[in-house]
Amino acid sequence: MVIPIFWRKLFKKMKNSEPVNNNNKNQSKSSNSYISSYLKENEESIREAFGNSADLVLRKVKIGANQNINVLIVYIEGLIDNKLMSKTVIKPITTFPDNKLKSPSPNEIHNKLKESQLTVNHLTEVYKLEDILNKILDGYCALIVEGTNKALLCDVIGFEHRPVSEPINESAIRGPHEGFNETIRVNTSLLRRRIKDPRLTIEELTLGKIGNTKIDIIYIRGLANPKVLQEIKNRIKKIKDEVDSIQLSGQLEEYIQDAPFSPFPTILNTERPDRIVGALYEGRYAILVDGTPYNLIVPCTLGMFITSIEDYTQRFFYGSFLRLLRWVSFLIALTLPSIYVAITSFHQEMLPTNLVLALAAQREGVPLPAVAEAFMMEIVFEILREAGIRMPRLVGPAISIVGVLVIGQAAVQAGLVSAAMTIIVGLTAIASFITPIYSIGIAIRLLRFPIIILAGSLGLFGISAGLLAILIHLTSLRSFGVPYFEPFGPIILSDLKDSLIRFPFWAYRTRPKFTTHNSIRQTARLKPKPLRQEEKEIEHNYGDD
């Protein structure tokens, strides 16, 4: 009877595995129950739920006419603001005016505390132990008066966090210098301060069966497309009770993105509140994840990754110039090494004769074929880049000396690589860092290698084929229903105003076509025209002086 035993084993396994799956949201015996009127019982069940953790504080205070009624105060050390706590919770309790009530019942004390005595800003009444457990983890403090079946939760949240400081990886010359930090409430307040309108909606979800991470979906009602919201919620709901926790926005991105195997990111991540505000005004959605300064924007297009706040803060000529510069460097970063490889190994006739001779002279002693040389140098550069990020700051100069002198100059002098190749690799590297969003730079850097191989084997035909393959992929991508290559893929004339070049603000009549139904942004006649009469009056006034 081999098979039945096998089945039985399998069945046992499945049975065993079930409790693990259902073991979410601290569902021990005590937590689902209601608050007991005996303080001892409550104390024990809370201690048990936390496994008697060191930072859990349970304090008993006696109040009442004869100091005979116990009040249990529960909080977690480090999550609360100590000064605020002693001022608004401990002091009102210890100075409880018991002379007016001769022999107060526990319920009377509870109500008195709730209605007038406690001076905290935010106070709620709960009946379940589970609520207490969840809330004190957020930094609330719980009060239970002996003899009552309810508890008071006081908001005394205050924990150490990084102050709002300048964004580290996305800086701007003239834009605002505020960046997100790791605390979700601070981040939402940064957005609220910029959009002073009740239509700015923040929906909060908690994710994970252990971590209980907070996630806020933010949008402007009336601008954002409700179908996209539904889609976001569906995708998040799928992972809600399955994952252990969501610690990073990158983790959430991988769970909910459209094309899991694409090198291109279909969700934009940013640490700039102004970028998210701009996206919200276009009818997009922001997803904020607690514990990370990088927050997500959906749906997004390729063009958004090439956009920086700088394009809008400077006047539109300069903004357009920057845009064009970035698109050109996007292409350079993607294809320059492969064009060099293709031309030097297949199509020498395409270069002017002098240049061909100079290149040939340089390449004379180089032992490797151009494609291997390019590949090697690109990988060396990637190693240098990675080392530059990971190394301790004190060894920084050492790395740059090794990078510049040993690998650059000495390798050329030793004849291992040609000088032209180092120029090409350097230019490519610089061009790949010009993208304002780091994640699109990664895509370009990864796609560069297959194109180098194609160029080394098939010349310009290979490069064209590689670019076409990327183009096919880009046009078939969608981000939450919005074509990723819009406004170039499907050409949207009104959206082209904010793509390769940037039109002045008064020229944007419409919002992006695919993200919102509320498409009219402003009227057409906003181009500034100084009035002749006013001008003359000003001149006249000056003349008087």
Binding site: P352, L460, T475
Partner: protein, 365 residues
């Protein structure tokens, strides 16, 4: 419906323009049909005018399709047997165009820039890319052509405008009227057969347009636009190359190679190669798509995507086996193709008239 995407009339315009660009940019069979170079533009004008007439009638008939493709429409109105036979002929027609386009591109590469590489490499890669695009559906094909056409147009503009140094108007002379009708037939037929033989694909795209009433406008505009452009290009070639125009296998490449300005702007063949690859891959994608959707509709399949890669493989084999060498390819497109394609398109028009008459009768009864 096998295809779920919808495209706009503007996208149809771009697709059609791209289809017509490809045979002009690649190994050009048209110049081989010319007897006298000086009146090449006249053949252009005649060919375009006749194609306009044909396409006007064809698109008017298309409007009766409603949500059916030409293959479904013929089958529902002419009965399963006769309708299926014509459907199969059409599908084979699309398939031949895809295969010969792949061969055209391969020959172009092997005769010009990479003579040592075997032709199968180019054909294999380009058909694979085309099949990949076709598998993603009509929407993707439309988007790529929308993105590509401006690039190719820019390149054409550069090649036409930057060669001003070499223009010699005397090359247009001696201007004489053709000696009899026969001299006009072959070149005009070459233009006409390419237009009408390939633009039949509108019958497959028609039900997937989001605004069907705009279809005729974009077909006519695409024909006129490409027609005018080719007349300009043709005159440009004549005034630059003179009688040698006839002997050039890829006139556009020769034109691009001439560009030499201020020791700086020169040898822009790189863009030519890019537009060859982009253009022909998208054309192959479109005709493979039409073949797959047509086959799917004849066989009443639920999805056409599984057919794409096998059809691509067949097209690769077909493109190799059909022609032994480049001369065969040129011979086919300067002779048999003209007769075959015009016969097919014109008889299709008559069959569509019959089908429409039957359709109207059905509605009445």
């Amino acid at each position: 419906m096998l295809e779920h995407g919808k495209i706009s009339a503007r996208q149809l315009f771009f697709i059609l323009v791209l289809i017509r660009f490809v045979p002009v940019m690649l190994l050009c069979t048209y110049s081989y049909t010319l007897k006298t170079v000086q009146i090449a533009w006249l053949n252009d004008v005649l060919g375009v005018a006749l194609s306009l007439l044909y396409l006007y009638l064809f698109v008017r008939l298309c409007k009766g399709f409603k949500d059916k493709t030409i293959i479904e429409y013929l089958e529902s109105n002419l009965g399963p047997v006769f309708g299926k036979i014509i459907g199969i002929i059409l599908v084979i027609h699309f398939f031949i165009i895809a295969a010969s386009d792949a061969r055209d591109m391969g020959e172009t590469f092997t005769t010009t820039i990479m003579p040592e590489t075997p032709i199968i490499v180019f054909i294999l890669i380009i058909v694979f890319l085309g099949a990949n695009a076709a598998r993603n559906g009509l929407e993707v094909i439309a988007r790529i052509s929308e993105f590509t056409v401006p690039i190719i147009l820019l390149f054409l503009f550069i090649t036409i405008s930057l060669n001003y140094k070499f223009i010699d108007v005397k090359n247009l002379k001696p201007f004489y009227f053709p000696q009899g009708f026969s001299e006009l037939v072959q070149p005009t037929g070459s233009i006409l057969s390419l237009y009408i033989g390939e633009f039949i694909i509108v019958g497959m795209i028609f039900p997937y347009l989001n605004k069907m009433q705009k279809c005729s406008k974009s077909v006519i505009l695409a024909t006129l636009f490409t027609g005018v452009l080719f007349v300009i290009l043709c005159i440009d070639m004549i005034v630059i190359f003179g009688p040698t125009f006839k002997t050039l296998s890829i006139p556009i490449l020769s034109l691009a190679k001439l560009i030499f300005i201020a020791n700086f702007i020169e040898r822009i063949e790189g863009i030519v190669i890019l537009s060859w690859v982009l253009g022909s891959a998208i054309k192959i994608a479109l005709f493979l798509w039409a073949t797959a959707v047509g086959t799917g509709q004849i066989l009443k399949l639920k999805s056409y995507q599984p057919l794409i890669y096998p059809l691509g493989a067949l097209a690769t084999v077909n493109s190799i086996l059909n022609y032994e060498r480049a001369a065969d390819f040129i011979n086919f497109f300067t002779g048999p193709w003209i007769v075959y394609s015009s016969t097919l398109s014109i008889s299709l028009l008559i069959i569509l008239y019959i089908a429409q008459a039957l359709d109207k009768q059905k509605v009445k009864s």
